[in-house]
């Protein structure tokens, strides 16, 4: 049991939060997500003698976790409510960045100053808008964004997960942020500005 390539519990546990968020976003249920992570850690522990190279530990763990999540869907007759990360096809839209900038690289429109973004975080309505904006991203872009910002994978792990090249990753994340930013500005920050002006009028 105590061979040198045996993975320690502590080492496995380090990856628990990331795996939990990964499972949670797909299963939308904390108990199920917890179970999937538990099963994954157990399987990893049992198979740890087969694991080589601790650098890719998280990739390996997520590989196992994906199987556990797939098992769950197979077992349950429940409909898949959320877009499963793996079902997503490419949806490259090469022209879409152009709308944000003019041909000389200057902003076309562009970011206005937001009034008290911190306050927005405390408002229920803001989160509905945030969710809408996030869901409005093209599927592949949403996946990359969520793996990075919601699950908390490192950039290179996201690339491995999604088979994106470095260059494509940077472009995709940049576009995701441009789109989200614009959506939040239009649907929330400019709206609340108008509302306030009305109130004072």
């Amino acid at each position: 049991m105590n061979t040198s390539n045996q993975l320690s519990e502590a080492l496995l546990a380090e990856h628990r939060p990331v795996m939990f968020r990964y499972a949670l976003l797909q299963l939308k249920d904390t108990e199920l997500a917890d179970d999937a992570v538990q099963e994954t850690l157990l399987a990893a522990w049992q198979a740890s003698a087969n694991f080589e190279g601790k650098a890719g530990l998280r990739t390996w763990l997520i590989g196992i976790l994906k199987h556990k999540i797939a098992d769950h869907w197979r077992r349950s007759a429940r409909e898949v409510v959320t877009a499963e990360f793996d079902q997503i096809d490419n949806d490259e839209d090469e022209s879409d960045e152009d709308a944000f900038f003019m041909s000389n690289g200057h902003w076309n429109g562009g970011p206005t100053t937001w009034n008290d973004p911190e306050a927005a975080l405390k408002q229920q309505e803001f989160w509905a808008i945030y969710e809408t904006c996030q869901n409005n991203l093209p599927p592949k872009m949403a996946k990359v964004f969520m793996l990075r910002e919601l699950v908390g994978l490192e950039a290179e792990e996201v690339c491995r997960e999604t088979s994106l090249s470095d260059a494509n990753y940077w472009v995709t994340m940049h576009r995701a942020r441009l789109r989200l930013r614009e959506c939040l500005e239009i649907r929330w920050f400019n709206q609340s500005k108008t509302k306030k002006e009305h109130r004072h009028a």
Binding site: R21, W107, P111, T113, R177, R181
Partner: protein, 66 residues
């Protein structure tokens, strides 16, 4: 002089990797003069914060349900 398109791409990259000193300087000088890129910079940091908060809230909501 780099364009707003290039600067915002760098700002975005800077959220995911450590930029070189030259790149960080280029951003610093640009945002001093360009309010839109300055807004972009603070807003992308805000979006990151919101994404983290969103995940926490999702977890809490789901906890309550189960």
């Amino acid at each position: 002089m780099r364009s707003c398109r290039d600067i915002t791409a760098l700002v975005s990259q800077g959220l995911d990797m450590k930029l070189s000193l030259g790149e960080r300087l280029a951003i610093g000088v640009h945002v001093m003069m360009c309010s839109r890129c300055r807004n972009f910079q603070s807003q992308t940091q805000f979006i990151r914060k919101a994404a983290h908060r969103y995940t926490e809230q999702l977890q809490q909501q789901l906890d309550k349900k189960s």
